[in-house]
Structure formats: C-alpha cells, structure tokens
C-alpha cells in the first residue's frame, strides 16, 4: 500500500466502490471524501438522495452535478456510465466544473463490477482519459456470510475486490468478524481486508492496473503458504463455497516447469473467452522462460490487467509459477491439465532457449524480420 501517486500516464485514476445492498458503501464513501487527499475527487453515484450530502453541499451546478464544500464534484449516473464519464471529462476540459484528479464510481448493490471495469478498459475514448485504480468492496459483518452463501452477486463483487472493507462490526461479536474474515480470505485471498473504521484515502490510491504492488499483494496473500502438505505439481488448497445453488471454488495451481509466455497468453485468452463468466478472478506469479524476474498477472472475469514485471522473486528458493483462480463450477484438475497441454505445445513449436536480453540485442531477430516484413 503506497501513498498518493500522480497518474503515470496522464490518465485520471478511477476507483470502483461496490458492495451488496445495505452493506455501507455510502457511509464509507462519505468518510473517505472527508480526507484532504481526496478533495479533488469526482464521485459518480446513482442517486443523490442516498448520500445525504445536504450539509456538505456547496453549489448545485445542474440537476446531475453538485459541488461539495470539500471540493469534490458529485455527479449522478443517468443512463450509461460511459456517457456520464465523457460528460464529466468534457465539463472538466471546458472548465465548467473544478478540475478533479480522481473519479470514484459507486455502483448499485446488485452490480457485478466487471461490466464497469470492462467499459473503462475497452471504450475507445475512455481508455485514453481514465485508468483503473483499486476496486473497493464493502461487506456487512452481520449479513455478509449469508449473502456470500446465497447470492452469486455478492461473490462476484468480492472476487473483483482489491480492498475489502468489513462494515457494521459494532453490531456483532468478534468471533463473527473473525469467521467472516476467514471466509473472505478463502474466496479472494489476494484482496487486502480491513475494517471500515480503518479505511483511509490510501486504500483507494495505488494504481491496481500498472503497479507492481499487485504482485506484492498477491505474494502477501499466497494461499499456499503455511500449508504443510502438497503434492508436487498438483492443484491444492480448495475451498468450496456454496452460493445460490452453485459451487464457487478458490484454488491455486502450482506449475513446476517454466511457462512459455506466448502459449500462456493464448491459453488464458481462450479460457477467459469461453469461461470468463465463471472465472471471477485469476491472479498469478509466473516463471516465464527467458526471464530472470517473475511476471505477475491479474484478471477479473474477462478483463486482464497489463502484466507487471516484478523486481525480484519473493522467495528466491521457490521459483515455481503459482496461479490462484476463483471459479464457479469449473474443475481445477481440468484447468491445470489444459495449461500443461498448451505449455507442451510451445515446447514443440518454439524450441529455443535464448533469453530476452539476447533478443533485445537482435541476435536472432533476422529471421523473424524476414518472416513478417513487407
């Protein structure tokens, strides 16, 4: 978790705040907005009424946009998120509203975070103006466990989270909170879990998409740690969580042999294309052929963030690739087998051992140039 950092590529970072109905999203948002570090934040919400911002209101710009006395711009989403964001960006460029350096989108309680994330990454205009930052999910300590058991929406939200804030802990006992924490860690081992009271601006800041922090977060939460039994090369650490009549499973895959980047990319893209609806999250640290340092990958449903090149192996003695999946109704053993088949395919088709630094020097670049030139 690092402090405030300016956008690296000139894009405005966007946070997504989601959580089940009545789980305390708005309360969390109101508290966070009081932080001076977030004073130049634009907030997109569904209804002004929900926020209870009246005493914070500085100026009403029009029926959709208000200015808060903290400096934040607050805007309702009427219709499409895309239109609201483009409208906000245009007004900012024209100087009609104060410049903002961050956007927080509060989604409705039943929303799956994936479409919003996907919109931000795929829209030809938005992709040049906005960058994805952390996804924060609230979960209610009183009802959270039941929601995760009964409602797939709650599991999807949790699986998409970078930060999970547990709310309403004052309404239940410490053991209930501990039980919920265990459940959260089982479904999404890679998220940072906090109590709402601990939430601060730093939890929104950080750049989920490009920062190598994501890799550190993964390593911190490596579910394979602390397990004293393991079968070499086998999937392990299964958690089965009944949810709305279906089975959500979190498991990790350990790969002994080094992975071929090209084959892995084609495999994961094909897997997510076909089964993205049922793969809530994939996160991993990879030992890629030809690379000394590990590569971290991170995806929510069909959306995969740009891979991070980590500075070093977290544990130099263990350089195996590790992937964590959160899936609904897919067989871990089949996913593992499929990955192996594709990696073997690259052994056959791309037999070579040179490192990327040699490639950078262009030693074997000549034939590739000849093949694709013209």
């Amino acid at each position: 978790m690092n402090g405030a950092s300016p956008p690296r590529d000139g894009k405005i970072p966007v946070n997504l705040l989601t959580g089940f109905l009545g789980s305390g999203k708005t309360t969390l948002l109101r508290e966070l907005l009081a932080d001076p570090r977030l004073k130049q934040t634009a907030v997109l919400i569904n209804e002004f009424g929900e926020v209870g911002l009246d005493h914070h209101l500085l100026e009403r710009i029009d029926e959709n946009v208000v200015l808060l006395n903290s400096g934040c711009v607050c805007c309702t989403v009427r219709g499409e998120l895309v239109d609201a964001l483009i409208d906000l960006d245009t007004r900012r460029a024209k100087g009609l509203i104060p410049a903002f350096d961050r956007v927080v989108i509060e989604t409705t309680g039943l929303a799956d975070p994936f479409p919003a994330l996907s919109t931000l990454r795929a829209h030809p205009v938005l992709v040049n103006h906005f960058g994805l930052d952390k996804v924060v999910v609230t979960i209610d300590a009183v009802n959270g466990e039941a929601q995760l058991r009964d409602r797939l929406e709650a599991v999807r939200q949790l699986a998409g989270a970078d930060v999970v804030a547990i709310t309403k802990t004052d309404l239940c006992g410490a053991d209930a909170v501990a039980r919920l924490r265990r459940k959260l860690a089982a479904i999404n081992p890679s998220a940072v879990t906090i109590l709402r009271e601990q939430a601060e601006a730093a939890h929104l800041l950080g750049g989920a998409s490009v920062s190598p922090d994501i890799a550190d977060a993964f390593v911190d939460a490596d579910p394979s740690e602390g397990l004293d039994h393991h079968h070499e090369g086998e999937s392990r650490h299964h958690h089965h969580l009944a949810s709305g009549g279906s089975t959500v499973t979190s498991f990790s895959v350990i790969v002994e042999e080094r992975l071929d980047w090209t084959a892995f990319g084609i495999w994961l893209t094909m897997l997510l294309n076909r089964h993205g609806d049922r793969i809530f999250r994939v996160k991993g640290i990879l030992n890629v052929r030809g690379e000394e340092r590990p590569i971290a990958i991170h995806g929510v449903q069909r959306l995969v963030h740009p891979p991070a090149h980590m500075k070093a192996w977290p544990d130099d003695a263990d350089r195996r690739s590790k992937l964590v999946f959160i899936v609904e109704g897919l067989d871990p053993a089949v996913i593992k087998h499929s990955l192996r088949v594709f990696n073997d395919l690259s052994d056959r088709l791309l037999p070579r051992t040179e490192t990327s630094s040699q490639l950078l020097g262009g030693i074997e670049g000549g034939d590739a140039l000849a093949q694709t030139g013209g």
């Binding site: 980047w261 990319g265 076909r274 594709f342 395919l345």
Partner: protein, 109 residues
C-alpha cells in the same frame, strides 16, 4: 493511425501491452515485437487448424482469420481472436474440452 491504410488504434491486448515502467511486454522494440508476433501466429495456428481455420498477419498489426471455404474475418486486437474464431466454427474452442485437448496433444506427438 497508419496514414496509408487508415487503420486506427493499436492492439491493446494484455499480452502485448504498451511498454512502460513496471509492465511486462514483448513490445519493447521492433525485433522483439516481430519475433513475438511470429511465435504467436505459430501457436495460434496450431490450435486453429484443429478446426481448419487459418490466421495470418497483415502489415504487422491486423489479423486475418479464414476458413477452408474462404470466408474471412479481419480484426485488430487479439482480444477479438477467440470470439471471431468461435463464430466461424460450430462448437467453438473450449480449452477445457477433453476432445479438443486430445487434438492439441496429438500435435505435440
């Protein structure tokens, strides 16, 4: 945009991310990019040919996918490869399907 052909934008797939600090990509220089593109075609074609599809690259930035009867689809980003390929064959490409995996394994034997 290429001024001659008017092709707009670039492949923004995660496997060929824009090179910037902290991001892993094989897009860093021209030789590296072309080598990776050639490798990608080899692997993609091995998979696609199990269903008689063929993938070519045009001008180093556009993909052309065709089937045995000559119908073609053109796309810019790898994000579109599998949706396009699945639209061209019945049953599509399922990496968790046992029969499909067996066919891929046969290639390596």
């Amino acid at each position: 945009m290429c001024a001659l052909c008017g092709v707009l934008g670039a492949d923004d797939h995660w496997t060929s991310a824009v090179a910037r600090p902290g991001v892993y990509t094989r897009n860093g220089n021209s030789a590296m990019r072309r080598r990776e593109a050639a490798d990608r075609l080899k692997i993609a074609n091995a998979v696609l040919r199990t269903r008689r599809l063929d993938l070519r690259e045009w001008q180093g930035g556009t993909y052309i996918l065709s089937n045995a009867t000559g119908s073609t689809r053109v796309f810019r980003s790898l994000s579109h490869m599998w949706p396009e390929a699945e639209a061209m064959v019945s049953g599509g490409f399922d990496p968790l399907d046992a029969d499909f995996l067996r066919k891929i394994e046969e290639i390596t034997r």
